[in-house]
């Protein structure tokens, strides 16, 4: 019997896993943004001495994982699993990172929802008694993502105004079965929601209905309402998607306007950094959660938050064949107390 299952899509952890430590690395542009004080390492140059942007992204993820393990005062031998993913074909950044560690590895693809996908699965593995310590990590890189999803940099194309800016960065979280918190108390797994949006330069609009679906299900399954949370963060809907979520939730009778924001809106100063609709990419939710949100929870400024990373699960090939963009959103409740 699924004793820990709650409602239709949520899990309530009996022994909530503790977030032991985190580490974040971001690129120069993110390092000039409003959250710069929260990142562990800001790169001066986004190739980081590597031959290509793909190799640089793998190095960024590797160093983020090493940083989180070391911040948690653990060694590689203590880690039972790495759960990681990224945006590139065959999730190469994660695989080539995992090649550097002798740690069992599950590669995940949830596009930009990967941070909460890995946290949800990691928390389930720990609460199930299958692991003591787990690394959850994701990364993205502006230049490797541009090449794969949009146009090669050499092409010098102009960016659409609804387009978002892929964050260069990575975040890693260590989950442990024991510890003093903050804890992951609930996880709501998203369903695929596809409202038929086909424009790959409007991912925020494509993913927002999935975010709303997961939010509504989360409230229904857990009995929580927005007032039970100090803040609710979506992953990378950007300016366009954030406005859609606020509107759609208001139609459903939830006023989120003063306690909801989006990591993609927070990571850049849109007025001065010319990012159009804001940040996106796996690294966006990863850097904002493992940097800003985690550190603010540790300081006691947030008691309970909901982190809901959102993903656009299309590929350029299927999109060029005329298919629409399937969206997904996974939510985890992170609480200073065990709930």
């Amino acid at each position: 019997m699924a004793v820990k299952k709650l409602g239709s899509q949520t899990v309530k952890f009996q022994n909530p896993p503790s977030i032991r430590s985190t580490y974040t690395i971001v690129g120069p542009k993110e390092g000039e943004g409003p959250l710069k004080q929260y990142f562990d390492l800001i790169l001066e140059e986004d190739k980081w001495g590597q031959e290509s942007y793909e190799k640089s992204e793998a190095k960024i993820q590797e160093e983020a994982i090493k940083g989180a393990i070391s911040n948690g005062k653990l060694t590689n031998k203590d880690i039972d699993y790495i759960l990681s993913g990224d945006l590139l074909n065959q999730i190469i950044s994660s695989t080539y990172t995992a090649r550097q560690f002798s740690i069992p590895y599950y590669g995940l693809y949830g596009a930009c929802s990967t941070m909460t996908e890995s946290l949800s699965l990691g928390a389930m593995l720990i609460d199930g008694g299958f692991a003591e310590h787990i690394v959850c990590a994701t990364s993205s890189h502006f230049s490797s993502a541009e090449r794969q999803f949009r146009f090669p940099l050499e092409y010098g194309s102009q960016r659409n105004f609804a387009a978002q800016w892929t964050v260069t960065g990575a975040g890693a979280t260590i989950l442990s079965s024991q510890g003093s918190g903050p804890y992951i108390t609930y996880a709501t797994t998203g369903k695929i929601v596809d409202m038929g949006i086909k424009d790959p330069s409007n991912m925020g609009g494509a993913m927002a209905p999935a975010a709303v679906d997961t939010l509504l299900t989360h409230f229904k399954d857990t009995g929580y309402s927005p007032s039970d949370y100090d803040y609710i963060f979506s992953g990378d809907l950007g300016k366009v998607g954030k406005a859609i979520v606020i509107d759609l939730m208001l139609n459903e009778g939830y006023d989120l306007s003063n306690k909801y924001t989006d990591c993609g809106v927070e990571i850049f100063d849109n007025d001065n950094q010319d990012t159009h609709a804001g940040g996106s990419g796996c690294g966006c939710a990863a850097a904002v959660f493992n940097g800003y949100i985690y550190k603010e929870i540790k300081k006691g400024n947030f008691g309970r938050i909901l982190l809901m990373a959102t993903g656009a699960l299309h590929s350029t090939i299927i999109n060029q064949q005329g298919e629409s963009i399937p969206g997904i959103a996974h939510a985890v409740t992170i609480d200073l107390n065990k709930g």
């Binding site: 942007y53 502006f142 090669p152 050499e154 194309s157």
Partner: protein
């Protein structure tokens, strides 16, 4: 005065491209191909000729001018060499531009590496 005419004609062609880019879902590649095809059609029916006479390089340097040169070359080829000339004339007329684009593109690719946008 000639420079001003060239500047205005070239600028107007680019404005059309920018307006399409900002207001439709067409990608830069779509616009490039449409402009080229438009140049061939406008050149073929004789509308672009006066624009080139008035605007000079402002009309020939943008991709529309390349389409115009293709059409003009094909027509002239057909006049001198018949049906075969219609096939060879367009490429003959544009061969210089194509070879220069390949050569300079190759040199630039050797000298420079792409960097992340700011």
């Amino acid at each position: 005065m000639e420079y001003i005419r060239v500047f205005i004609v070239g600028g107007l062609i680019c404005v059309v491209g920018q307006v399409i880019l900002d207001n439709t879902k067409l990608t830069p590649a779509h616009i490039l191909v449409s402009f080229l095809t438009a140049g061939v059609i406008l050149g073929g029916i004789g509308i672009y000729e006066p624009v080139v006479k008035y605007g000079g390089a402002g009309a020939t340097v943008p991709i529309v001018g390349f389409g115009y040169a293709l059409a003009k070359g094909a027509i002239e080829g057909a006049k001198t060499n018949g049906i075969i000339g219609a096939f060879t004339g367009g490429l003959q007329a544009t061969a210089g531009g194509v070879a220069a684009a390949i050569l300079f593109g190759y040199i630039m690719a050797l000298i420079f590496n792409p960097k992340t946008k700011n």
